[in-house]
C-alpha cells in the first residue's frame, strides 16, 4: 500500500465524516444567522433524530425503503421538537440580553440529555443501531463502503435542497430578509415569528438526518451521543464563518478531513488538538471565519 493510496483512503474516510459535521453545522449557522443564538441543544436534536430512526428501523427492519422512512420520521419529529423548543424556551427571551438565551440553550441541552436517560423508551444504556450489512466497493486499491457512500450522497442532496430553499423560494427570501434586518422585515409584512420557527424546524430536521447517518456509520445510539459531534459541528460552523451557509459546509468538510488525516498520518491523540488548532489559526487571521462577512457594529 503506497502513500498515495493510503492518502486517498484517508480522504474518503474524512469526506464521509466531514459530510456529517457539515450537515450538523448548517443548523447552528442558520439559527445564528436569524436570531444570533448559538443553539447548544443542536447536538441533542441529533440524538433525538437518531432515536427516531432507531425505532422505525427496529420495528420494520432495514431496507432502503425503511431507511428513507426512518429519515423522514426522524426529520419530522425533530422539526416539531425544534419548534417546541423555540416557542417555549427561546421566544420569551428574544428581547433579553443574548447571554440569557445562550445559558437557556445550555440548559435545554442538559435537560434533553438527562431527560432521555430517564425516559423508559430511550434509557441510559447504549443500543445497537440497526443498519445495512456492510458492502465494500473497492475502486483500485481504495475501499469505499456503501455506508460511506450513503452518508455522503444523502448529505450532499440535503445540502442542495437547503441551498435551493434558502436562495430560490419565497420562504428562503423571507429568511434572508429576517436575518438581514428583523424590524424592517417585520414592517414589510413578513411573519417573523413564523420564519424563526421555520428556521428552527429546518435546522432540526437536518440535525435529525445527520443523527441517522451518524448512527448508520457508527451503529450505536445513547443519550450523550450528540455532545461530541455537536461540539465539532459548532467549531465547523465558526470555522466556516458563522451565519454563512456555504461556510458551514466548507467548515464541516475541513474538520472531518483534518481530523482523519491527523489520526492517519500524525497521531490519533493529536486529532482534536490539531482540528481545534486550525480553528484558532483561522480566527486569528480572519476573525469572521473563512466565508464569514465582516459586519461592522452599528452604533
Amino acid at each position: 500500500m503506497g502513500f498515495l493510496h493510503e492518502f486517498l483512503q484517508q480522504m474518503v474516510n474524512g469526506l464521509s465524516l466531514g459530510s456529517i459535521y457539515a450537515l450538523l453545522a448548517l443548523g447552528y449557522t442558520m439559527v445564528y444567522g436569524i436570531v444570533k443564538l448559538i443553539n447548544f441543544a443542536h447536538g441533542d436534536i441529533l440524538m433525538l433524530g437518531a432515536f427516531g430512526g432507531f425505532f422505525v428501523l427496529a420495528a420494520y427492519g432495514v431496507t432502503p425503503l425503511t431507511f428513507v422512512l426512518a429519515l423522514l420520521v426522524g426529520m419530522i419529529v425533530c422539526a416539531v421538537v425544534g419548534i417546541v423548543i423555540e416557542k417555549t424556551c427561546y421566544k420569551p427571551l428574544r428581547n433579553a440580553p443574548r447571554i440569557n438565551a445562550l445559558i437557556t440553550a445550555i440548559g435545554v441541552s442538559i435537560f434533553i440529555e438527562n431527560g432521555a436517560r430517564v425516559v423508559k423508551v430511550i434509557g441510559p444504556n447504549p443500543k445497537e443501531f440497526p443498519t445495512f450489512k456492510t458492502v465494500n466497493f473497492p475502486i483500485g486499491d481504495v475501499n469505499i463502503s456503501q455506508i460511506q457512500i450513503i452518508v455522503f450522497v444523502v448529505s450532499i442532496a440535503l445540502m442542495f435542497l437547503l441551498t435551493y430553499i434558502v436562495n430560490h423560494t419565497k420562504l428562503g427570501k423571507a429568511m434572508r430578509a429576517v436575518s438581514f434586518d428583523r424590524p424592517a422585515a417585520y414592517l414589510m409584512g413578513i411573519n417573523v415569528d413564523w420564519i424563526i420557527s421555520f428556521t428552527f424546524a429546518l435546522g432540526s430536521a437536518l440535525a435529525a438526518a445527520a443523527g441517522i447517518l451518524f448512527a448508520s456509520a457508527y451503529p450505536q445510539v445513547e443519550p450523550y451521543m450528540g455532545i461530541i459531534p455537536g461540539l465539532k459541528a459548532f467549531v465547523a460552523a465558526v470555522l466556516g464563518g458563522i451565519g454563512s451557509i456555504p461556510g458551514a459546509m466548507l467548515g464541516g468538510f475541513i474538520m472531518g478531513i483534518a481530523e482523519t488525516l491527523t489520526k492517519g498520518f500524525i497521531s490519533s491523540q493529536l486529532a482534536d488538538a490539531i482540528a481545534f488548532g486550525i480553528l484558532i489559526l483561522i480566527l486569528v487571521v480572519k476573525p469572521s471565519g473563512i466565508l464569514g462577512k465582516n459586519v461592522s457594529e452599528k452604533v
Partner: protein, 379 residues
C-alpha cells in the same frame, strides 16, 4: 428564648432517633457494592449486581453470617471514576459498610483502592483485571485473574492456535484495562516470536476509527487484537469490516456480552473469558440454573465473578468471627475453595490463580450470535 429551646429539643430528638436507628442498623451486616448499572457497560453492572444480590439472598436464607443477615447497598457509578469515588465516600461515611464489592471496571476501581487501603475497608473487585489494581495494599482483593495472565493467554492463542505471525493492536489509551492488556499481549506475542506490525490508539468515547484502521490495514496483519468493552468493540468491528478487512479479531473478557450487542461482523472472532456457561462443572451448572430461574437470562462471566466475590467475602466474615477489617482481611487470605469461576486461592498479591477459557463467536442454530468453547489456558 422559646425558639432556642425548641431548637435544642429538636436537636436532642434527632440525636435520640439517630441512636435508636443506629441500634437497629447493627442487626444486619452492611455490604456495599459499586457497579455500573447504567451507561456503556451496564450489561455487566446489572448482571453483577443481580448475581451478588442472589448470593446474599442465599446466604441469608441459610442463616446469614455471624447470626446476622447481610444487607446489600448498591451504588451506580456509570463506569465513571469520579462517580465511583463519590459512591465510595457515601458507602463508607454514611452507610458505614463493613466491606465493599466493586468497582467493576479497572479504571473505576483504581480510583478508590488507595482510599480503601487508607481507611482499612476490605475491598474485593469482582472483575477489574488491570495488574495494578491490588497494588494499593493488603485490603484490596479481586475475584478474577489479572491482565498479565489474560494478555498472555490471548497472545499464546493467537500464535499457537491461530498460527498468526503478524498481529496489530488497536487500544483505548485512556483506559487502564485496555492499556494493560495491550502491553501484556505485545510482550508475550513478541516473546513467542511473532511480530507486532501496528499499534494504534484512540480515546474513550471515540466513534470514528476509520483513520486508524486504514493504517492498520496497510500493515497487513493476520490478527487484530482489540482489548476494550463490548459496546466499543461493536463499533470498531463494523468499521473493520467496512474497510474490507476479513482477519479475525480478538480481545479479553471485556468482549463478554458481545453476542447481544454486535452484528455479524464479529463472527469468527475470539475472546478470553472467566467461565463458559456451557461447562459441565457442577458449580457452574447449579449457578446457571439458579440464575436463569431467577432472572430469566443466562449469566455472563461478570455475573459469575460477582457471585463468587460475594461468597468469598461472606465466608471470610464468618471465619473472622468479627467485623474487624484486619481480621476479615486475614480470613480472606485463607480463602481456599472451589467456586463457580474455578478454584479460588489468593497469592501474595491477593490475585486468585486460575485458568482462562477462550471462546469463539459463532452463529447459533436460531440465527442469533452465540459463543463456542475454543480451549482452556492454565496459568
Amino acid at each position: 428564648m422559646l425558639k432556642n429551646r425548641l431548637l435544642l429539643a429538636g436537636i436532642i430528638l434527632v440525636l435520640v432517633f439517630s441512636l435508636i436507628s443506629g441500634c437497629n442498623e447493627s442487626k444486619t451486616i452492611k455490604i456495599g457494592t459499586i457497579q455500573p448499572i447504567s451507561g456503556q457497560v451496564s450489561a455487566y453492572g446489572i448482571q453483577t449486581r443481580d448475581a451478588i444480590a442472589m448470593a446474599i439472598e442465599e446466604i441469608n436464607a441459610n442463616g446469614g453470617v455471624l447470626g446476622k443477615k447481610l444487607e446489600l447497598i448498591v451504588e451506580d457509578d456509570e463506569a465513571s471514576p469520579e462517580k465511583t469515588t463519590n459512591a465510595f465516600k457515601k458507602l463508607t461515611a454514611k452507610d458505614k459498610v463493613v466491606a465493599i464489592i466493586g468497582a467493576l471496571t479497572s479504571k473505576c476501581t483504581l480510583a478508590i483502592t488507595k482510599e480503601a487501603q487508607a481507611k482499612k475497608v476490605v475491598l474485593i473487585t469482582s472483575s477489574s483485571t488491570n495488574d495494578t489494581v491490588t497494588d494499593a495494599g493488603e485490603f484490596i482483593f479481586r475475584a478474577c485473574y489479572n491482565d498479565s495472565f489474560q494478555g498472555q493467554v490471548n497472545a499464546k492463542f493467537a500464535y499457537e492456535t491461530l498460527k498468526a505471525r503478524r498481529a496489530a493492536i488497536l487500544y483505548d489509551i485512556t483506559n487502564d484495562y485496555s492499556k494493560g492488556l495491550m502491553s501484556n499481549f505485545k510482550a508475550k506475542f513478541e516473546e513467542l516470536g511473532g511480530q507486532i506490525v501496528a499499534i494504534e490508539s484512540y480515546s474513550t468515547g471515540d466513534k470514528d476509527f476509520n483513520a486508524q484502521l486504514t493504517k492498520i490495514k496497510a500493515s497487513q496483519p493476520e490478527v487484530l487484537f482489540i482489548p476494550d468493552y463490548y459496546s466499543t468493540i461493536s463499533l470498531i468491528a463494523k468499521q473493520v469490516r467496512g474497510q474490507g478487512m476479513t482477519i479475525p479479531m480478538m480481545g479479553g473478557d471485556g468482549w463478554d456480552e458481545i453476542t447481544n450487542n454486535a452484528g455479524d461482523e464479529v463472527i469468527g472472532c475470539y475472546y478470553s473469558n472467566h467461565y463458559s456457561p456451557d461447562s459441565d462443572d457442577e458449580d457452574v451448572k447449579a449457578f446457571v440454573t439458579k440464575f436463569r430461574e431467577k432472572y430469566n437470562i443466562t449469566p455472563n462471566a461478570l455475573a459469575a465473578l460477582g457471585y463468587d466475590a460475594a461468597y468469598i467475602l461472606a465466608d471470610a466474615i464468618e471465619k473472622a468471627g468479627s467485623l474487624d477489617p484486619v481480621k476479615i482481611q486475614q480470613a480472606m487470605m485463607e480463602t481456599d475453595k472451589k467456586m463457580v469461576t474455578g478454584y479460588i486461592r489468593f497469592n501474595e498479591k491477593r490475585n486468585p490463580v486460575k485458568s482462562a477459557v477462550m471462546l469463539k463467536v459463532v452463529k447459533g442454530a436460531d440465527g442469533k450470535l452465540t459463543t463456542e468453547y475454543a480451549g482452556t489456558v492454565n496459568p
